[in-house]
Symmetry: C2
Subunit: 458 residues, 2 copies
């Protein structure tokens, strides 16, 4: 019987639990420093988070249970697209002339087109269960905003998205997608919050930023009883929800009769796609003696893991959030306008940062013309058009495959293709016509913004 | 064990043969009149088609074999997305408050986002096998052009797409998608063909039409030895290739433990999506005594099956193609600019037309605001964002489901969701903001253009 090109699972084989890495960090000798209150500098308690998040998610944030059951109502929605397919990239292997065996997980089949609904759905669910009627969030290019709009629609709660004004105006498609799913989308800065009004008073023509949009969404949630806030990456509970990805991959590799992976590759912005894909492999490294190399690929324009410092910093630009110990470029560092908008973040998930610090994962960075070259090579062999974000993972897998070509080794490489590029075609146009800018390491800007790291008394 | 939401098949369960309806038309008492040479009025011979199509496809066009084997190389490419999922629309049933059981087949998971690659791939393959180096085609909004670009890239042959100029300029995303897969895309009318130059001489500002683009693509194929032409619908071999859809559905309904469908619904433009989905059910009606109602849904703006005449007519506006006996609105009838660009066609597949004439299928038409209402109801329940074309099928299924609500019958309804709407969001924007125009039956224009039907001596 010929080898499978595409390994699909029945929804009856979908994971019933999320995997919580925090249960195994101790065994790996990794310490996860707690988030601190920005006012007191003391470790955060559940009450500090209660205005913004439902108790179930706050509990998950600090849980050390190894497996957390996925509620049946969440599983029912997951079944609209999960389990997602795993592919053997046989045509791309041939195009690269590599002896490596390359597999990729494809999360672009979700209604919103990326992995983001994996966490948007449970976040909407737990809020609904606790009586919350409305959720606010921020979005840049719109992947997270559209995922949350979809999820809120599924559970009948309202969704309000503060969308960075320049994206709202220049990239209308994801805005329309959110509205089609019933969300209210507001260009930020808006006149609906104190934070927005203050910005507009200072600069009526402000085109907005993710930092400003977070401030608006958080302010609205904190000041309305019926409303809470949802975040699409960085936090432990978000990475937890994403672990359905890696768990499925392990089952699918077994169905494929594949060797245990030598290396797994994913892109990193805030860390949720990377964590969701890689943590189940890390679990096997920690608990079962496996030795899979785990590689994070980030943009040279926002190289927190590879060029940042490991320190307590704010999660947002406006210094409103708790302090998180993470790899950071400084909370007011503004990455260059690369097309991989989902990776334009100054910081990194605390879990991913701690793993990097402990040497349990590797990280590399790459500039954007190289990632579009890799994306083009991939789509011309495999058909699927990748978004710029997962094209970082494609590039990473390609480096591993080309190294195998040099060495003659037939390694097993698995990467996460976390979303399609149907809303990113203008960036392909720029690349194909030689208009795509490259951005180098922003060394000076990083050094400047690192000077403004918060000073802790402890 | 709970009922499945989504029925997936392994690629090992993919159909190995296409189903050829022509084998069973005799048993159903249906006569399929032959295409005629536009000059002589005599039935067309294989040699008449040889300048445009490879012999393998010409043979399929006239074959009466019931099953035609799918070449292994074609199956290998199909596996990049086939078998496609079948869904039970449980959430939408609940939203419609209907006792009906609704299933839908989803073809939007293909790289090009619709059912079109099902025929683009074998067409590119047979051309490649016969030494053809280049294919030309026309495209309007770009669904067919992008499918053929993808398919040509898979087999390493060149693809040149004449794209209607107004779409080329106003809808750049599908153009970029074609270029990403290596195709050359030319706005039509162009200065590269006699046909294009003649149009431009008469009107330098012509925004083009599908008829002009066909003329350019056919002219280039007819005048270059290394080049042939590919058509995305209407012809028998195109509908043949699409029968993988209906065959998979029958297998998936079995896996789901579903009742045999009471009614199946698909949209029709040229007829390939409808035929590919419905013909395997028609086979069971003809050969196994099943009594499934088979419903075609077309736009009120291009109502060939419901308001046209059954007569010999040209397939293109410029009177270059063979004459086909079909339901037609007249070959120079220009449908209103509805958003379902893939259904803006004056004629209909000869097979589908003969079935309608024989009373073996039903047809209804609907205006576009109603189809967007149906699409919105669907996407807010099921998540998937449908293109405007399959939203006609959604509307049709919805009428059947609402009739069940009236009658209290729990019928089994299956429809074909032939593509996603990721490139159609501006039409959703128009609908959501009350800017979507409705178009009534164009009675006068139809009567006018029917006066110019070709006169046959026979």
């Amino acid at each position: 019987m010929s080898e499978l090109t595409k390994i699909v699972l029945s929804e009856r084989d979908m994971p019933t639990h999320w995997y919580n890495l925090n249960a195994d960090l101790g065994a790996a000798g990794v310490e996860l420093p707690p988030p601190l209150h920005p006012g007191t500098g003391q470790p955060l308690g559940p009450d500090d988070l209660a205005p913004l998040f439902p108790m179930a998610l706050i509990a998950q944030e600090v849980s050390t249970e190894r497996y957390i059951e996925i509620p049946e109502e969440v599983q029912e929605i997951y079944k609209l697209w999960r389990p997602t397919p795993l592919y053997r990239a046989r045509r791309w292997e041939k195009a690269l002339d590599t002896p490596a065996r390359i597999y990729y997980k494809y999360e672009g089949v979700s209604p919103a087109g990326s992995h983001k609904p994996n966490t948007a759905v449970p976040q909407a669910y737990y809020n609904m269960k606790e009586g919350v009627k409305r959720l606010t969030t921020e979005t840049g290019a719109g992947q997270w905003g559209s995922a949350l709009s979809f999820a809120c629609q599924m559970f009948g709660i309202e969704c309000k998205v503060y969308m960075v004004k320049i994206s709202y105006e220049q990239k209308p498609y994801r805005k329309i997608l959110m509205q089609t799913w019933g969300a209210t989308v507001v260009p930020s800065p808006s006149d609906q919050t104190n934070a927005g009004r203050a910005i507009l008073a200072a600069d009526p023509n402000s085109t907005g930023s993710l930092g400003i949009a977070i401030s608006e969404a958080v302010e609205e949630a904190a000041t309305r009883d019926d409303t809470k806030y949802a975040l699409g990456s960085v936090l432990n509970h978000v990475l937890l929800h994403q672990t359905v990805i890696g768990q499925e991959v392990i089952k699918q590799l077994e169905v494929a009769g594949a060797d245990w992976p030598d290396v797994v590759v994913a892109c990193t912005g805030g860390g949720s796609n990377f964590g969701g894909f890689a943590f189940p492999f890390l679990r096997e490294n920690i608990t079962a003696g496996k030795q899979t190399r785990i590689v994070a690929v980030e943009p040279a324009a926002a190289p927190s893991l590879t060029r940042g410092v490991y320190a307590y910093d704010f999660g947002d630009t406006a210094s409103l959030t708790p302090l998180i110990k993470m790899h950071t470029l400084g909370h007011d560092f503004v990455p260059a306008p690369i097309h991989a908008g989902g990776l334009r973040y100054h910081g990194m998930s605390a879990q991913v940062s701690a793993l990097k610090e402990a040497g349990l994962i590797e990280a590399v960075n790459v500039r954007q013309r190289a990632i579009f070259e890799a994306a083009l090579s991939f789509t011309r062999a495999e058909g699927i058009l990748p978004a710029p974000e997962p094209s970082h993972a494609i590039w990473g897998a390609m480096q591993e495959a080309l190294a195998c070509k040099e060495s003659g080794q037939a390694k097993t490489i698995v990467f996460n293709l976390c979303g399609h590029g149907h809303f990113d075609l203008s960036s392909y146009d720029a690349f194909l016509n030689g208009r795509l800018e490259d951005y180098d390491y922003p060394e000076e800007a990083i050094q400047e913004s690192l000077k403004r790291l918060p000073q802790l008394s402890g």
